[in-house]
Symmetry: C4
């Protein structure tokens, strides 16, 4: 079983997720630019979520390039990741409509946390299939970046009820940390193992 | 005619179905976590339908891997399956909004039953094209699992008006039965025929 | 320039069109099966449009298999066809919601007519690129079936204001005429030219 | 890293964008043809945006055909372009609903301007990866057509508050300028460099 159709299906789902998020930005009925002002928080949230989905797509792309075999477990780990990603438009819409209030801000973090954990699970399922001595295993290493993200999401969720700004800053900081493209797998494929972590998706 | 474009088109439709279901979860206008409570049945139904679509995608993936030739009949049997799958977001939304009442619960089962029967039809169209001695025919065998699913859907539809819980439990049980990935085709491709049934999706 | 990406893009657009049509079937708020009755015309229209889109996808699939080269003109002829197909969800929703009244019934035919003409145009653009002696040209021949469809659409549009039933029957008859898969290109590829017409999409 | 998955993902996103725009054309509740009249501006805007998205897809298709290697920078430049394209359904809906009023007309131009600039950026990222002496660099040349488009968008934005008609005419003129398929890359691939500009997307 090859990775081609798994990639194609994941690409399809991720492409739809990234595009239907924009449907949460409801077209205003008035024609004045002032009518756009209430949409600003929704627009900023859209940008943040777009970047997160972009990061996941990028890292997923790299991860599957290092994958040669697909098992049933990998198929379901991938579907489990896509499940959490599919909830991002919902939490994006809720956070955008409610101007960064505690509840939506915390739930946004919960979905990011679950998606991050699902990515780690997918990574492990692929490593388990390919063996602990594989290029992939070496490339991922201790996955410091992935684990740090999970901690940052937990911090953001906890802070949602005290300071929405710290929570939001955590989400932005995590995204920025991942925006730098992860070259570990590329490096490992080229024969240079890297000790610092794994292509954990955000 | 090869299977590549049939796969690509089916993947596209299934990816869209699985993703637009989430649009039935309407973003609440209030920011409190209590505002999410009315969405809980819809969310649980979304999970159930997501798993069903995931099972269909998985089994469809396996089925087409054992397919070498595509005929007009196979194209239409495939479109007929996708037709019933395309109605899953509708019945998911209806069941989710109406907290498992008899009507929506029964209709959910009707759509699953029709999709299951369509999958059996697609399977037969592919076997007819490849011959009764093909690997695929051996892999599917008597298709006990597929036929049992159809019976469980019928039970669930009948019970919808007596006990919604039994009906719902039937849907969950059928999904769990299929969550275990079907290794019969993989086994058959590797030369080990299996006597127990077919990769019926549902 | 090869046909691969043209196929992939067309498949994507057609997959989305066929799937978003179901969004026009609004989930009723009541749980009784009686609440589904007002949706019946919409559901029947959905089935009709689903079959039309399926026919287009099937014929498009065959047409591109006989295509080796893609020019700018072919790309735009293809986009022009997809434009008219993209309006099918709109006219389907309108006809479905208005129980086969004259206006929506006529407009449904106008969109089918334009899509049919666009398919003929695409066919000609591909033939022009491949030469009048190509397999494709022979396969299409006089395109009786395609031209008959255009006539049937015109009849249906004209009858919309006298008898919606005759108009609707014309749409159903045209779809049935195409449901029989078009084997002319397959036959021509296998070396047997056919005199009867072309894989005109519906 | 090859361009295949980048193409597939971009195709998916562009296919969805071009198709969900039609969802902004709300199905009227009345059955008379007069009920369609208020939809006319929205329909015209839909046509314009459809052509723009078609131009981007065409040019993107050509650009990636001249691309052999994909870097992290190219992936993000591509996502940045898709971000601006994803906002086209929103501005199309707003302009269509508000009959070409100044605010929506200007914002439409802003999104086109940003998308055009993003396309230039993507082009530069690809040229940077392939070297200044590459076929692509020669094909793009001074990119007069691309730069002229950016100027025309700026003109349109500025005129939105004085004459919506001049602004709209600028959008239509720019689209027409690009509708003629760009043969420079094709020519360059065939060994004939062209001095006039680049496949800037609209």
């Amino acid at each position: 079983m090859d990775t081609r159709r798994l990639e194609a299906f994941s690409d399809g789902v991720i492409a739809i997720i990234i595009t239907i998020m924009v449907l949460e930005l409801k077209v205003p009925h008035e024609a004045s630019l002032q009518a756009l002002r209430p949409l600003l928080p929704g627009f900023l949230t859209y940008i943040l979520s777009y970047i997160y989905i972009g990061i996941y797509w990028n890292n997923h792309h790299h991860l599957l390039q290092a994958t040669q075999q697909v098992s049933g477990g990998i198929l379901w780990a991938n579907l489990y990741l896509l499940f959490w990603l599919s909830l991002i438009p919902f939490v994006t819409g809720w956070m955008g409509e409610n101007h960064f209030e505690p509840g939506p801000t915390a739930l946004y973090g919960v979905v990011l946390l679950m998606a991050g954990a699902a990515y780690t699970l997918l990574q492990r399922a692929i490593v388990a299939r390919h063996g602990r001595d594989s290029i992939l295993k070496k490339a991922i290493g201790a996955d410091l970046k992935g684990n740090l993200s999970l901690v940052l999401y937990l911090v953001a969720i906890a802070f949602s009820y005290f300071s929405v700004w710290i929570a939001t800053a955590s989400y932005v900081a995590t995204a920025l940390m991942w925006l730098v493209p992860d070259r570990r797998i590329e490096r490992a494929l080229a024969g240079r193992p890297s000790p610092e972590g794994g292509p954990h998706g955000g």
